[in-house]
């Protein structure tokens, strides 16, 4: 997930679709995010590269919509409903995720285990 300036970012991603849950007046997703280009990347416990300023999932409410959809802690969110999440501020990310008019968010997330799984499967000879 290293970011080389000038080169397109490539990553193995997983599609996750979360249905927002209505609680009173709010629509909640059931997880917490951290990171952003205006934040300090060195304090991110989930990133490999400590200069990575992407949006990461820091906490998941057990039994919430995100948990049901298969989101895991430490995932890096690359896109939300087609909107890019790799170069946004923290507040922009929050706003993108909590749009009141959308009931569903479709995320593209990436994690380390995905990369490794792909590598492993590629190293097995095809049968």
């Amino acid at each position: 997930m290293a970011f080389i300036p000038g080169q397109p970012v490539t990553a193995v991603v997983q599609r996750i679709e979360i249905q927002k849950l209505r609680q009173g007046d709010n629509l909640i997703l059931g997880f917490s995010i951290g990171g952003g280009i205006d934040q300090d990347p060195g304090q991110n416990p989930y990133s490999e590269d400590k200069t990575d300023k992407g949006i990461y999932v820091t906490r998941i409410t057990p039994g919430g919509p995100a948990d049901a959809a298969g989101l895991m802690m430490g995932d890096k969110i690359m896109q939300v409903n087609g909107w890019d999440m790799t170069m946004v501020t923290h507040d922009q990310a929050r706003r993108t995720l909590t749009k009141k008019k959308e009931d569903v968010v479709r995320l593209l997330v990436t994690r380390k285990s995905l990369e490794e799984a792909v590598k492993q499967s590629m190293s097995y000879p095809r049968q």
């Binding site: 909640i28 205006d38 300090d40 820091t58 923290h90």
Partner: protein
């Protein structure tokens, strides 16, 4: 009164005893009445006498008989203020006393009335109130180096007077001796070059080589240098001295000696080489005179550096604490001798320290007496009187300690009450003064012309105006002064004078009251008639220069200033260069939002 009937050195002891009795006389002495004093002395002299066995102790108070093994070697032993360190300082004192007799800087001024201390209390009253902390050997006690007084006789000088009264020069001579010596020497030095030039012209004019332009050039330079010497001498040395010091002012003596040696050697050379063989080379003589003037200018430069410039760079920090109420200040001084530093500290004292108010010192009596009501023998406050039976006192101490000590409580409430009272009176005073000031106003010029035909207003000058508006505020002022215990410093006359002053200068009521609301520096309350008598007490000779850790004391009758010397730290200044472009900032946030 029973004295020791030892016959040893009775005459010297006589002198000491008589010295003591002399000081007990009322001390409004004037220099004119020296003869009167002589006759008085004669009377007293007979009364005293340790070994004389004459028990005529009418004048003396009953005190324990002074030890007759007093300071026998030095005649002018210091007078004692307090009997703190007695025998240990005897050696120092003897050595110092011998030097003191040669003190040129006499500390007597004879033209004003000679007193020893501030408002007219006889000297010994201050000592007699010390009570019981005097030991039996009060005769040989603390060294007291003479005071730095402007207008008064110091103790040693008084003794010297009593010794040499019959054959001494009158008082004026002694005081002016140092001044006259310096003036004579200076005049001599200034006149010498002119004499060098004039003598050959007068004595052997015919045989002199004619000397044209070069001589005239030298004449001009000589004239201007002499003028500069004159002006700078006037500027530097002809200033009225602010204080008289107990010892030689070392640098001044050094310079006077240098000038004397210098001029004397020039005269010697001149006498031997020019006057005797009647030297004909006039240009050489003029050059010689010019070189003398150059050298005098350099000596003056040396004087400037030694006397004025050297002590400007701060090197020591002096902490000055007043013993009675703890008011303290810190001052930075340069390299000075102890006596010069003492004079400097005293000058700052008069303008920095709030005036010493003895009424503010003690705890109110109500608090102290309440605590000790059960034990009659004890006497709280500054001194504890020693009891006759130590066992009893120990029991009392133990009982007192066991008893619950509530005096701090009462002290706190009393303080709060007093503060409240002072604030109330201050408010009343402010209001009444404001009101009083509205009664008058300054009459403008146009008004005078306009209003005179209609109703003639009474036109007053400042003094009358002050008296007119003083009446309504007098009571409030009096009560406030009493509450802050300042009433002894401000008489009605002085208040009216101050009011007149404020009215004349268009001051507001608050400016008028500024003088009374806070205790000002001592200088404000000083009348300039008399000089101030201070005594410098020091364990080291007072011409020694300041060093780390020295402590000396400046005493007056009822309080003293303790001065401690600490050197200023040596500073190691480093350098760090910061590129202006290196100021960069990043955000240090890491927030977590739940969605």
């Amino acid at each position: 009164m029973s004295f020791f009937s030892s016959g040893r050195k009775a005459s010297k002891i006589d002198s000491l005893r008589s010295k003591v009795d002399l000081l007990r006389l009322p001390l409004a002495l004037s220099s004119k009445s020296i003869s009167n004093r002589k006759s008085q002395l004669g009377v007293v002299w007979e009364k005293g006498g340790c070994g004389g066995g004459s028990g005529a102790g009418g004048v003396q108070k009953p005190r324990p008989p002074p030890a007759c093994d007093m300071d026998n070697d030095s005649i002018y032993s210091g007078y004692s203020f307090k009997s703190s360190h007695s025998r240990s300082s005897r050696k120092h004192r003897e050595r110092r006393d011998r030097h003191r007799t040669k003190n040129r800087d006499g500390s007597i001024r004879g033209d004003k009335s000679v007193t020893i201390q501030a408002p007219g209390e006889p000297l010994l009253d201050a000592e007699s109130t010390r009570g019981d902390d005097r030991d039996d050997n009060w005769g040989e006690t603390t060294t007291v180096v003479t005071g730095t007084s402007v207008d008064s006789i110091s103790n040693e000088d008084l003794t010297r007077i009593t010794k040499d009264l019959e054959d001494s020069s009158p008082l004026e001579c002694r005081r002016y001796l140092g001044l006259v010596l310096g003036a004579v020497l200076g005049l001599f030095a200034l006149v010498t070059p002119l004499a060098f030039l004039a003598l050959p012209q007068l004595l052997w004019r015919d045989t002199l080589d004619p000397c044209g332009t070069p001589c005239e050039g030298l004449y001009i330079s000589l004239a201007f240098k002499l003028l500069i010497l004159l002006i700078s001498t006037w500027a530097l040395f002809l200033r009225p001295p602010r204080a008289t010091l107990p010892r030689f002012f070392i640098f001044r003596c050094l310079l006077l000696a240098l000038v004397f040696l210098f001029v004397a050697s020039y005269w010697l050379f001149y006498g031997v080489r020019v006057l005797e063989p009647r030297e004909t080379d006039y240009r050489g003589i003029v050059g010689y005179a010019a070189s003398l003037v150059d050298a005098l200018l350099f000596i003056q430069y040396l004087a400037l550096v030694l006397l004025e410039v050297r002590h400007l760079q701060p090197a020591f920090c002096l902490k000055v604490v007043r013993t009675t109420d703890g008011a303290s200040h810190f001052y930075n001084v340069g390299h000075l001798s102890i006596q010069r530093a003492a004079v400097w500290v005293l000058e700052q004292y008069y303008s920095d320290f709030p005036v010493y108010n003895p009424a503010l010192l003690n705890l109110p009596k109500s608090i102290l007496t309440k605590k000790m009501s059960a034990f009659k023998v004890y006497n709280l406050g500054e001194e504890n009187s020693t009891n006759n039976s130590t066992g009893q006192s120990r029991a009392m101490i133990a009982a007192t300690a066991r008893r619950r000590d509530n005096s701090h409580n009462e002290y706190y409430y009393e303080e709060a009450e007093m503060e409240r009272r002072v604030r109330k009176r201050k408010a009343r005073l402010l209001v009444s003064v404001e009101e009083a000031f509205t009664h008058i106003k300054r009459q403008q010029e146009e008004e005078a012309a306009a209003s005179s035909p209609k109703h003639p207003r009474e036109v007053m000058d400042p003094r009358e105006a002050a008296q007119a508006i003083f009446a309504p505020m007098a009571r409030a002022m009096q009560k406030y002064l009493r509450a802050t215990r300042q009433q002894s410093y401000h008489s009605m006359e002085s208040i009216i004078n101050h009011l007149q002053f404020c009215i004349t200068h268009n001051m507001t009521p608050k400016a008028f009251l500024e003088r009374y609301l806070s205790p000002g520096p001592t200088l404000q309350y000083l009348d300039n008639g008399r000089g101030r008598q201070w005594t410098l007490v020091s364990e080291e000779p007072v011409t020694a220069s300041l060093r780390e850790g020295q402590v000396f004391t400046l005493k007056r009758l009822d309080f003293s200033l303790v001065v401690t010397v600490t050197p200023l730290p040596f500073l190691r200044l480093g350098e760090e260069f910061i590129d202006p472009k290196s100021h960069k900032f990043v955000m240090k946030l890491q927030s977590e939002t739940s969605v």
